[in-house]
Symmetry: C2
């Protein structure tokens, strides 16, 4: 295969095209504009890429017509979470993907509402997906709603906010990240596999992969928070440290954090060896996750 | 049948029991507490009551085990919308159902997150509902996600916020309410009917009923905003007028607004005559909606 960057950019174009069509032009509204602003804008699209790659590992292609729909649903949840996390009452961030955050580009009320509507949209897209049997739609909605809600992403953000100025140990930090970012990464991988009609053995191997990958992603994020600059990151460098939030780097030190990221990366690769299909895209994504510079 | 108050209180007990069980006790978290605080607390439960009554009009009973699940899902969406609407960046309300609003009882970040998690919970509940065929679950999720999102409740709130200090005409006001409160009322009625396997003729008659009922509800709300006192309402009396928001009363005057509510009530009753089943509970709810004092 080509290297990750080439591979990813072809899929990103497909994903971005789908994302651009997902919010209708009419009736024109500020709300729709704020939703489009947050869905577009050049994210890394890691979750959709994982979904495509996971489907490929099971089904051997990346051609199923429901992949775009599911990718848009996952990305809608991700985009909504970024809008709400950036709000003044939460992380109070001014910069996201190199542009003003939604509440600054629009206003706070519209940002809250755009996030709310993006969450509804995710489930509407999955419920409407014509290329999937009802049972598969239900499985996808179940995975995504669990990952998004009070046992996943949202409780992770609540733990994160409560952790400012407190001391978490490494187990608590890991639990927070498992919820805050891990759950949605797990769901993305599972959803791709479910569209490919994966069996329970395959789902288990992929769950081990995504669990390690999700943590590796976060450890590397913490490393970037201290080693990259703001222009490269597209968000405020040093933001976690400035807020006195516990990170892998603050708990382990930079060297041990780097070793931990490598260890998790290897665990992710090992999990993939249990699958017979084409796991090279999943391997490349894992490699990218621990080597990326922003 | 007994009068509405007796009828409703029996069902409210059933609904409140279900709502109390819907958020697990463990792990204990501030997030779960904020969600429980907002789900409980003595709402009128109009939407669940409509869902039960609509099922009864189609199926003749109120015993289907999925009714509680669907009622909790609808109420979770409603509760989330109240939390977010009350936020400082939105309506900035201090009082809801006679108690401090969620962001005052907890804090703003937790209120945003509790709302977010309640929305996820609604779809998780429907996806998990064991008593329904997959196809029915999908229909319910489709109705609820559409009603909640960018073409329903959320865009209604966006229009409402944008309407402060502006002049809406009666058509624009009606469109705003159709989105903001009507869509979720429509969904509640449709969901009850779908659990009862209603046919398309029945769904159409019920949609006419709920459309009139939803507007009647809002017209009467505007009347109460000027005629009831804060203690009875459980929220700030005169709040809409204080914010210089257009209302039916400000556009039509109190007398014409009362006549409009009566007209809509009659339209709702007329729609029910097309149904062969027991529509008395739906009639009683409509009567309550235009006669209630809070």
């Amino acid at each position: 295969m080509t290297d990750f960057t080439e591979y990813a950019s072809a899929f990103r174009a497909r994903i971005d095209t789908a994302l651009n069509q997902v919010i209708p032009d009419t009736p024109a509204s500020q709300l729709a504009e704020a939703m489009r602003y947050s869905l577009a804008g050049g994210g890394k699209r890691i979750r959709p890429l994982l979904l495509f790659a996971s489907y490929r590992a099971i089904a051997g292609t990346t051609e199923h017509p429901a992949l775009e729909t599911a990718a848009c649903a996952v990305e809608a949840i991700h985009a909504y979470s970024l809008i709400h996390d950036d709000l003044p009452a939460m992380d109070d961030d001014a910069l996201r993907r190199g542009r003003p955050t939604c509440h600054l580009a629009f206003d706070e009320a519209l940002a809250i509402l755009a996030g709310d509507a993006l969450q509804s949209l995710a489930f509407e897209l999955l419920a409407d997906s014509p290329a999937l049997a009802d049972g598969t739609r239900i499985q996808l909605i179940r995975h995504l709603s669990r990952a998004a809600g009070m046992h996943g992403m949202v409780v992770g953000q609540a733990i994160d906010l409560a952790a400012v100025d407190t001391e978490l140990d490494i187990t608590q930090l890991e639990h927070m990240h498992r919820c805050k970012t891990g759950a949605l990464i797990d769901a993305s991988v599972a959803m791709g596999a479910l569209i490919g009609s994966a069996d329970s053995q395959q789902l288990k191997a992929l769950a081990r992969y995504s669990r390690s990958l999700g943590l590796a992603f976060q450890v590397h994020d913490d490393i970037l928070d201290v080693t990259a600059d703001t222009a490269t990151l597209g968000k405020q460098q040093g933001a976690d440290i400035a807020r006195n939030k516990p990170t892998y780097v603050s708990l382990l030190g930079l060297t041990a954090a780097r070793a931990r990221a490598q260890e998790l990366y290897q665990e992710a690769l090992t999990a993939l060896t249990e699958l017979a299909g084409d796991t090279e895209p999943l391997q490349r994504i894992a490699q990218y996750v621990v080597e990326r510079r922003h």
